[in-house]
Amino acid sequence: MTWELFAVFLGSSIRLATPLLLAGIGEMVSERAGVLNMSIEGMMLTAAFAAAVGSWATGDPMLGLLIGIIAVQPIALLQAVLSNTLRANQIVSGIGINILVLGATTLAYREIFGARSRAEIPGLAKIKPPLLGDIPVIGSAVFEQVWLLYAGIALIVATALVLRYTSIGIAIQAAGAEPKAVDKSGLSVTRIRYGCVLFAGFMASLSGAFLSIGDIHTFTEGMTRGAGYLAIASVIFGKWRIGGTVFASLLFGAATALQFQLPALGIAVPNALLIMLPYLLALLAVGGLVGRQLAPATLGEPYRR
């Protein structure tokens, strides 16, 4: 493998990992607080759609991003109401939301774009950070990325700091591990969990926007294609830790990117196997490579006093 090809491979891995990474971190926070959002997929799709429409209609990708973020919040709120207030099964309600969003975005996409299907959708700008971006060969292939990716990394670092050093951080962890303790300390478990689901929605909306106006400037029907489920897998793979989730997302990204490198290198592997690779890796990982996983004690269970 040449350096150049390797650089492309790295850049490609990062780009393919980014949606999982962004959505995964949000989901991790929410799961830490005890809520499993199967609806990540649907939230991502909503954002991908709304950001594309917004960017296309206003001509400004920043506005598109904002519209994407705003559009997801009602979905996240619906998930929060279902899983906290109405104490619905979190898997069912999540799957229900995914089905609904898939139908609704397809319908709306056709209503809006129907005839103008080749309409140009403005996308978010790319940046090349100084120093890193100037490394020969690797610099632009690896580090010249959509700014949202760098913003995402900053957000992830911020999330890690909040979890570690602030009262909100310990409250979130306690809400998943021992909600009774949270309740009895005078905080509201429900409010914390609502907040975390909305945060997961926010991160999922960045992820979805990255899909549509970040890297590829287009929306296609059902374009998330299971990325939301892979994001959940990376949370479990990452043992509900930030570092682990980031690592898992990158691994899945790399496994997908490998699919394009091997043929270019003339290595013949059944295509089905290559496509299966991220899932296979994820299964191997959750199935023992990473050791016993200890989920937050009350993950998936609505809290009642």
């Binding site: 009262s167 962890q173 303790a181 300390s185």
Partner: protein, 529 residues
């Protein structure tokens, strides 16, 4: 003392007053028409059988539940907390009957939870903890993780969590059930300090000795109603107990009365005391060089060797967390020993499955009855025969009517009180749950050995008495009994012989003689005698 009448003349404006409080869960009334006053400066004890409504009462005060009827006044104003936040804001703090700590967080983080906004100042909190430790004699390592602490230390964290808020009303729901004598003394001291400065303490306990020692006033609950109050509890303790169990104290098992503080501790043993015929020793349970290491490789039980004869009760004493849990888990087949052997007569039980151990005739009353002893979401009958379902199976079908018939008979024999054999296990009070687990294990057809861990924890007087008399009866039948308990009084009263565990090793052993209390206490603290 006034039996179920209006409270005595008002001494001072009450800090908290409850009038005609009613609380229902579904169509079950947990509290009805409860009125009582908590006066500033007093330690107010609540006494009552399991299920009498004590915890419910505390939870109402703390805002966890809301009353269905009646009203509360606090510091002269109407008080309607809609959640713990309201009560905390008013200076009410509570230690709950069951821990509510986050196991994988540190002590400081648990204390800080809900107390600080924004950035955490852990160092400052650690300093505060140190100050509290000095003031109240409650030492803690602020950066230790909860899951690494002993039960007693965890309870200390719960108490410190409250004290750091400097509460004006301090509610403690059975805080002493899991504490050692020293720790209990320290806690009672804390209560005194809190009460002495014009604040008040509500203390729920089953231990009459504690009531005698520190209660200023006592309210007795029975079936959700106030059945007695007393301003001179120490003098009226017998009458209070009578009101609580609605029976005669004399009918209680002697040893129960003894360990609950009605009488001075004396060894009662199991045989009739004037039976002097020497028994032939038949070894039932032999434990030889048992060593247990946990998943991190830490040795939890170290070369434990012990023989229990038929008809003998051997007590295992020790501060909680010194290997008792591992010992029972290994004996129950829930944990594999690293080294050593376990025999029952000639049957090798080392590393056998729970099923084989049960089949060999070993009954286990586990220390954590909710986690290991029962399935609370199933019916009483199903729980009683969970380990013998095969006996109620025909062609794979469950003979439910036979199961319930047998269970009903057993309920009668063991005085398990419930709506019926079909009642949900979680609807039983703690004492009745424990009696049911005991019934299941003690009625194994070929019972030769019974391992009972903390069998009376959290039980009321009547239930404790019932448990003792069943254990004693089994012993009479020639069952070898291993009684693991952190209540030294319990062992001194009931056991024949006591071995002391310290850091997984046997520190020493002796006959169960109340006069050797000091020596045993020293061994528990790690000093060989």
């Amino acid at each position: 003392m006034n039996m179920a009448s209006a409270p005595a003349e008002i001494v001072a404006e009450p800090l908290l007053s409850l009038s005609a409080i009613t609380k229902r869960f579904g169509n079950f009334t947990a509290l009805s028409d409860v009125s009582l006053d908590i006066r500033p400066g007093e330690i107010h004890c609540i006494l009552g059988e399991n299920g009498a409504g004590k915890s419910t009462l505390c939870n109402l005060i703390f805002g966890v539940h809301r009353p269905d009827g009646g009203s509360m006044r606090y510091r002269g104003a109407s008080f309607q907390p809609s959640g713990p936040a309201d009560s905390l804001a008013q200076g009410i703090a509570m230690v709950h009957q069951h821990f509510s700590l986050v196991p994988d967080m540190s002590v400081v983080d648990n204390v800080l939870l809900g107390r600080q906004r924004g950035l955490l100042n852990r160092a400052e909190c650690a300093r505060q903890l140190e100050k509290l430790a000095v003031d109240y004699g409650l030492p803690l390592d602020p950066f230790a993780k909860i899951e690494d602490l002993s039960v007693g230390e965890r309870q200390r964290v719960e108490i410190v969590k409250c004290l750091i808020r400097d509460p004006s009303l301090f509610v403690l729901d059975e805080p002493t059930a899991v504490l050692l004598p020293d720790e209990i003394a320290a806690l009672l001291d804390v209560c005194h300090r809190v009460a002495s400065s014009g604040r008040a303490v509500v203390l729920v306990t089953h231990k009459l000795a504690e009531i005698k020692k520190i209660a200023d006033r006592v309210t007795v609950l029975r079936g959700g109603r106030v059945v007695a109050t007393s301003d001179k509890p120490a003098a009226e303790i017998d009458a209070l107990v009578r009101a609580m169990i609605q029976g005669n104290v004399d009918t209680l098992d002697q040893s129960a009365a003894s360990i609950l503080g009605l009488e001075p501790v004396k060894h009662i043993g199991h045989g009739t005391e004037n039976d002097n015929t020497p028994k032939t020793k038949v070894e039932a349970l032999q434990i030889d060089g048992l060593t247990v290491r946990d998943y991190q490789g830490v040795t939890r039980l170290d070369n434990f060797t012990l023989t229990v004869d038929r008809g003998e009760i051997v007590g295992v004493a020790g501060v909680e967390g010194n290997g008792q849990s591992e010992l029972t888990a290994v004996l129950a087949g829930m944990m594999t020993p690293s080294e050593g052997k376990i025999y029952l007569g000639d049957i090798n039980l080392t590393a056998k499955s729970p099923k084989e151990i049960t089949a060999a005739g070993v009954g286990i009353v586990p220390e954590d009855r909710h986690a290991v002893g029962c399935v609370t979401g199933m019916s009483l009958a199903e729980n009683i025969y969970l380990n013998r379902l095969d006996e109620f199976t025909r062609f794979g079908f469950l003979q439910r009517s036979a199961l319930e018939r047998e269970a009903a008979a057993l309920m009668q024999r063991f005085d398990v009180r419930a709506r019926g054999p079909g009642a949900l296990f979680s609807s039983l009070s703690g004492g009745n749950q424990q009696k049911a687990v005991l019934a299941r294990e003690i009625t194994l057809p070929n019972l030769t050995c019974l391992v009972a861990a903390q069998p009376t924890r959290g039980l009321d007087v009547g239930a404790v008495a019932a448990v003792y008399s069943h254990i004693r009866a089994a012993c009479e039948r020639g069952v070898a009994i291993l009684l693991v308990s952190s209540e030294l009084d319990e062992l001194l009263t009931v056991a024949d012989r006591i071995v002391v565990l310290y850091r997984g090793r046997i520190m020493g052993s002796c006959v169960a003689d109340p006069d050797r209390r000091e020596a045993i206490g020293a061994m528990m603290a790690g000093q060989p005698q």
